[in-house]
C-alpha cells in the first residue's frame, strides 16, 4: 500500500522549491543588468517582471511551507523534478514577454530546452533578439548544465545531508568528492575555468574575423556557455554557420568534448592522473563509438556525393557527429540539409550518436557511453561464458577511475535506464509519425529531444503541432533527469490520488 503524502511532505517540497525559485529570481538579475548596460529598456522590464514573479512565488512558498523537518530521499527526488518544471514556467516568462515567441507554450519549450541543455528552439526572428534575452537563453543552459538544484544548493541551501538526494536526483550518479557540497563546488570551479578559457578563445577569434569588441565578447561568452554545457543555443539563426570560421569550429569542438567528459574524469586530470584518459572505459568506448559512427556517416555522405572533396566531407560530417555525440546540437549546415542531402545511412550514424550520448556525470544527455560500455562488456562476458567450460570462472572488470567488478546489479541498472531511454525515443517518434512526419525524420528529432542534443532536421518550428511541442518538452525533461526523479514525482501524484 502506498502511503498518501501528508501536509508535512508538501511543506518540505514547497520549502525547497521556494529556495530554488528564489535562486532563479536572483539569476534573472544578470540579464537585467545586461539590459540596463545596453540601454534595452523594454527587455529590462521583461526581466524585472520575471524576477519579481520568482521572488513573490519563492517568498510565499518559504513563508507558508515553513518546516524544520529534514529532506528525505523521496522528497529530494520530487523537489528536483518539480523544480525543473517550475523553472521552465518561470524561466519562460521574460522570453514570452519579449514577443519573440508565438505563445507561452513556445516560450516554455525554449526554457526547458535551455535548462535541459538541449538546444532545440522555437524563437522567432532570433537575429533581432536583445542582448538581455540572449544572455538569459544561454544562462539557462549554463544553469541547467551544472544542474538547477546544484545552483540552488550552492547559493541557498545549507548542509550536505539535504543536498545528497537533490544531487542524485539531477542525474548525477557519481560523487566526485566524498562530500556533495564539495562536489558541487568542484563542478562550479571546472565550469568557470573552462568558461573563461572558452570565452577568451572564441572572443579573440571573433574579434580577429572583424566583429566589434563588445559583440565578440558576448558571442564568445554565450557560445562558450552553450558549448561547454553541451547546450547548443546560438545568438543567430544560422547556428555556427553564421561565423563562416574554421577556427571557431575547432574551438567549439574542443569545448563540446570537454563538456562531455565525466566530472570524475576532470577531477582525475586535475589531480595529474593523465593516464586515466587512456584507461577509462568511458573515453575508450567514446573513441570506438566516434570511429565506428563517423565511418558510417562519412561512408553515407561519400556514397551520396553530398560534399565536394574529402576535406569538406570531413569538416561537415565530423562536426555534426561530434555535436550529436556530445549532445550539443551546434550545426554547420542548414537544418533542411539533413532531410534533403544527407543519405539515410549518415542520418542513422548521427541518430545513433545522439542516442548514445557522452560521459555520465557530465553536462551531456542520452543513454551515456558508460552504460553502453557496461552493457557491451557484460554481453561479451556472457558470450565467453557460453563458449568456455562450465567450471571456468569469468570475472568481468571495467576501469572507471578505479577498477570495478561488474556485478549483476550494475549491469541491470545500466540496462534498465537504457531501456527507459529507448522507450522515450520511441514515444516521440510515434507521436511524430502520428502527426504526419516521415519515420526517419520523426526518429531523428525525437532522439534529439530525448537525448538533449538539439540537432534538428527541420521539424522543430513554431508551426509544429502543440501535441508534439508538449511531447518534446516531456522528453527533454525526463531525458535530462534520467527518469528516477520523474518517476518519483509521478509516484507521489499517484499516491496522492490512490494512496491511503
Amino acid at each position: 500500500m502506498i502511503p498518501r503524502p501528508q501536509i508535512q511532505d508538501f511543506k518540505i517540497i514547497g520549502q525547497y522549491s521556494g529556495r530554488m525559485i528564489l535562486a532563479l529570481g536572483l539569476l534573472m538579475l544578470i540579464p537585467l543588468l545586461v539590459a540596463i548596460a545596453f540601454g534595452e529598456t523594454a527587455a529590462a522590464l521583461d526581466f524585472i517582471i520575471g524576477a519579481a514573479i520568482c521572488f513573490i512565488l519563492g517568498y510565499l512558498l518559504i513563508l507558508f511551507c515553513f518546516t524544520r523537518r529534514e529532506l528525505t530521499w523521496r522528497h529530494g527526488m520530487v523537489v528536483v523534478s518539480l523544480s525543473w518544471l517550475l523553472a521552465m514556467f518561470l524561466g519562460a516568462v521574460p522570453l514570452y514577454l519579449s514577443r519573440h515567441w508565438a505563445g507561452f507554450l513556445d516560450a516554455c519549450f525554449d526554457a526547458m530546452s535551455g535548462f535541459a541543455t538541449t538546444g532545440l528552439a522555437l524563437v522567432q526572428d532570433l537575429d533581432h533578439l536583445s542582448h538581455a534575452h540572449n544572455m538569459w537563453r544561454h544562462l539557462t543552459m549554463y544553469i541547467g548544465g551544472q544542474g538547477i538544484m546544484i545552483v540552488a544548493l550552492t547559493l541557498l541551501v545549507r548542509g550536505a545531508g539535504s543536498a545528497l538526494p537533490i544531487y542524485l536526483g539531477e542525474a548525477r550518479e557519481e560523487k566526485v568528492l566524498p562530500n556533495v557540497v564539495q562536489t558541487a563546488r568542484f563542478i562550479w570551479l571546472v565550469s568557470l575555468v573552462y568558461l573563461l578559457m572558452g570565452t577568451l578563445a572564441l572572443a579573440f577569434t571573433a574579434l580577429s574575423s572583424g566583429m566589434p569588441k563588445t559583440t565578440s565578447f558576448l558571442h564568445g561568452l554565450w557560445m562558450a556557455m552553450a558549448a561547454w554545457d553541451t547546450g547548443g543555443f546560438t545568438p543567430h539563426s544560422q547556428s555556427i554557420l553564421y561565423y563562416h570560421n574554421f577556427t571557431f569550429e575547432l574551438i567549439t569542438i574542443t569545448l563540446m568534448l570537454l563538456g562531455s567528459l565525466n566530472f570524475s574524469l576532470h577531477y582525475a586530470l586535475w589531480a595529474g592522473k593523465r593516464r586515466e584518459v587512456l584507461r577509462n572505459i568511458e573515453t575508450r568506448s567514446f573513441f570506438v563509438s566516434v570511429v565506428v559512427l563517423f565511418t558510417l556517416t562519412g561512408f553515407g555522405l561519400a556514397a551520396a556525393g553530398a560534399y565536394p572533396g574529402i576535406i569538406s566531407l570531413f569538416r561537415k560530417g565530423f562536426y555534426q557527429l561530434i555535436s550529436a555525440h556530445t549532445g550539443t546540437g551546434y550545426m554547420t549546415i542548414p537544418a533542411q540539409q539533413f532531410a534533403q542531402n544527407w543519405p539515410t545511412l549518415s542520418l542513422l550514424g548521427i541518430t545513433l550518436a545522439m542516442a548514445i550520448g557522452a560521459g555520465a556525470c557530465s553536462t551531456a544527455g542520452g543513454i551515456k557511453i558508460l552504460r553502453m560500455g557496461i552493457i557491451s562488456h557484460a554481453l561479451v562476458q556472457d558470450v565467453k561464458r557460453t563458449i568456455l567450460p562450465r567450471s571456468a570462472v569469468v570475472i568481468d572488470k571495467i576501469h572507471h577511475i578505479k577498477n570495478v567488478v561488474l556485478s549483476e546489479k550494475i549491469v541491470r541498472q545500466a540496462a534498465l535506464i537504457t531501456l527507459a531511454y529507448i522507450f522515450l525515443y520511441l514515444l516521440g517518434t510515434l507521436v511524430g509519425i502520428a502527426l504526419g512526419y516521415p519515420l526517419k525524420l520523426a526518429l531523428f528529432e525525437s532522439v534529439s529531444a530525448g537525448a538533449n542534443v538539439g540537432l534538428s532536421c527541420g521539424i522543430t518550428a513554431p508551426s509544429m503541432p502543440a501535441a508534439l511541442k508538449i511531447t518534446y518538452i516531456f522528453q527533454m525533461w525526463a531525458g535530462r533527469l534520467e527518469f528516477v526523479s520523474v518517476f518519483a514525482l509521478l509516484g507521489t501524484i499517484f499516491a496522492l490520488l490512490r494512496g491511503k
Partner: protein
C-alpha cells in the same frame, strides 16, 4: 543657317533623350527581371541541387556583423524563411549601412551571384558568391515601445516583493 542649326540641335537633344530613355528602360527591365527571378531561402535550401552553381538573385535583410576576409567579406542575409551566407568583395559589403540587430533593421539587399549547395572553397558551406549587391531598401532604427501594462507590472510587482521580503525577515526573527 540659324534654322538648320536649331533643327540639328533639336535632333541632338531628341537623340540624347532617346538614349537616356532606353538606358533607363534597360536598367528598369534588368531590375524587374532580377526581382522577378529572386529565389527565397526556403526554395534554395529545400531544393539546393536545382540551383547549385546557378546565377541567382536572393533578396533579404543584412543581419549581424560583416566578417572581413582580406579583400572579401561575409555578410549574412535573411529573408522570412531563413538566412544564407553571402561571400562578396569587401567594397560591396562596405556599401551596407545598416545590419539587423535588436536596435536596427538592416538594409534590404538584392544579391546577385552564384549559389553553391556545398561550396568547395568554403568547407562545404551553402553560400552565395555575390557579384552585385543592390540596396533595395535602406534599414534604420527599430523602436521598442513600452506598453502601459508592462510598465505598471514592473512597478507593482517589485513593490510586492519588497513587502514580502520584509515579512519574511520579521517571521524569520520570530521563528
Amino acid at each position: 543657317m540659324m534654322a538648320m542649326q536649331n533643327a540639328k540641335c533639336k535632333m541632338q537633344n531628341l537623340f540624347f533623350i532617346l538614349i537616356l530613355l532606353s538606358t533607363i528602360n534597360y536598367q528598369l527591365s534588368t531590375n524587374i527581371a532580377e526581382a522577378a527571378t529572386a529565389v527565397s531561402s526556403k526554395e534554395l535550401l529545400e531544393n539546393p541541387g536545382e540551383y547549385d552553381g546557378e546565377e541567382i538573385t536572393f533578396e533579404g535583410e543584412a543581419i549581424g556583423d560583416i566578417m572581413v576576409r582580406g579583400e572579401f567579406a561575409w555578410v549574412n542575409v535573411r529573408d522570412e524563411h531563413g538566412a544564407i551566407g553571402v561571400f562578396c568583395p569587401l567594397e560591396l559589403a562596405e556599401k551596407i549601412g545598416y545590419r539587423g540587430s535588436y536596435g536596427f533593421k538592416g538594409d534590404t539587399l538584392s544579391v546577385r551571384g552564384e549559389f553553391h549547395r556545398a561550396c568547395a572553397e568554403h568547407g562545404g558551406d551553402s553560400d552565395i558568391h555575390a557579384e552585385k549587391i543592390l540596396i533595395v531598401q535602406e534599414g534604420g532604427e527599430r523602436s521598442h515601445p513600452l506598453t502601459s501594462g508592462k510598465t505598471r507590472a514592473s512597478v507593482i510587482l517589485p513593490a510586492i516583493v519588497l513587502f514580502l521580503a520584509v515579512i519574511h525577515l520579521i517571521v524569520r526573527r520570530f521563528r
